[in-house]
Amino acid sequence: MSKSSKYNGDDIWKNNVEKINSELFTLTYGSVVAQLCRDFNNNYHEVNNQLDKMGYNIGLRLIEEFLAKTGVRRCQTFRETSEIISKIGFKIFLNIVPTIENWSSDNKTCSLILPEPNPLTEFVELPITTDSKISKELWYSQILCGVLRGALQMVQLDVDVNFVKDVLRGDDRTEIRLKLNKVLKDEIPAGED
């Protein structure tokens, strides 16, 4: 039995989280990305960085809400962690359940496949005609990577998160790659002896 079956993402999503209209959400996020593109003169690498940073700061706080609402206990393996992220984390905050695949043999790297429609990219098209760079450089949903990185860091997991495929760019699916670097140790604060 997988550990995530003990916690019910469905119930929490139905009864215990505040919801907003998904179109409002999609359009607001879209205007954020569009504004960033303007602010950084279509330097899409910088836009990715900024989205990642915004997500990171969201993740630092979101994890506390997540833990308080779900009462999840510490996971023993990264496989468990990924199940919790997908079946509970994504479920209660975005109401989607990504599938997890492509495990590496050391169980430290895996892929999250976001189901379509991705709530961030509904109604979105990249304007390829005006700017051909955009579909090669911009990761439109990069904020999700930041959120995951920030949230996991707060529970002592140092994880690299990045997009490798995005349907918006014409790929066959939207894929986020997670790589566990190390489990951080709880240390005695310096200068408290």
Binding site: L60, R61, L67, A68, Q153, M154, L184, P189, A190, E192
Partner: protein, 154 residues
């Protein structure tokens, strides 16, 4: 990438029977550092007492008792520590500590974007060597209020 790590923080609420009505009074004293040291050591001992391979749930320190008082302890997965000091007749306060975290901390600190969620006291601390305390006024005020409303608070 930022060099600050996960927030490890100490919130100290003292409500011994001798000091009626005074909560959070030890937050700034050195005894809070001593308490942190005791808890840190006990926690590392308790995690070593269990075989992590065979046990599904890791050991967690919940409370310990000294001659005249009992220390109740809850640590969130994000390393926030919630501590209550009570008379030894008070038995289990885990639900109270969980309430402090899941309700009062979330409401006053996490959902308040002006309130920091990392509690670094000095800048020369290295990554993941953080110790600080929750100094949000509303959080302290409301925890005081909440704790005084409990039946165990006399």
């Amino acid at each position: 990438m930022k060099t600050t790590g996960s927030g490890s923080s100490v919130s100290l609420n003292s409500s011994t029977a001798n000091h009626l009505g005074i909560i959070n009074k030890n937050n700034d004293s050195n005894t809070s550092k001593l308490l942190f040291g005791i808890l840190y050591s006990l926690k590392s001992i308790s995690t070593k007492l269990i075989d992590e391979e065979t046990s599904p749930i890791s050991n967690a320190l919940k409370s310990f008792t000294l001659g005249k008082y009992r220390i109740h302890y809850l640590e969130s997965l994000t390393n926030l520590k919630f501590i209550l000091i009570t008379d030894i007749i008070i038995d289990n306060l885990q639900h109270v500590l969980w309430e402090l975290y899941s309700n009062y901390y979330i409401k006053n600190c996490v959902e308040n974007s002006l309130s920091p969620v990392e509690f670094k006291q000095s800048t020369d601390l290295k990554e993941h060597e953080l110790m600080g305390k929750i100094s949000n006024y509303n959080f302290i005020h409301e925890t005081d209020h909440f704790l005084q409303s409990l039946s165990v608070f006399e």
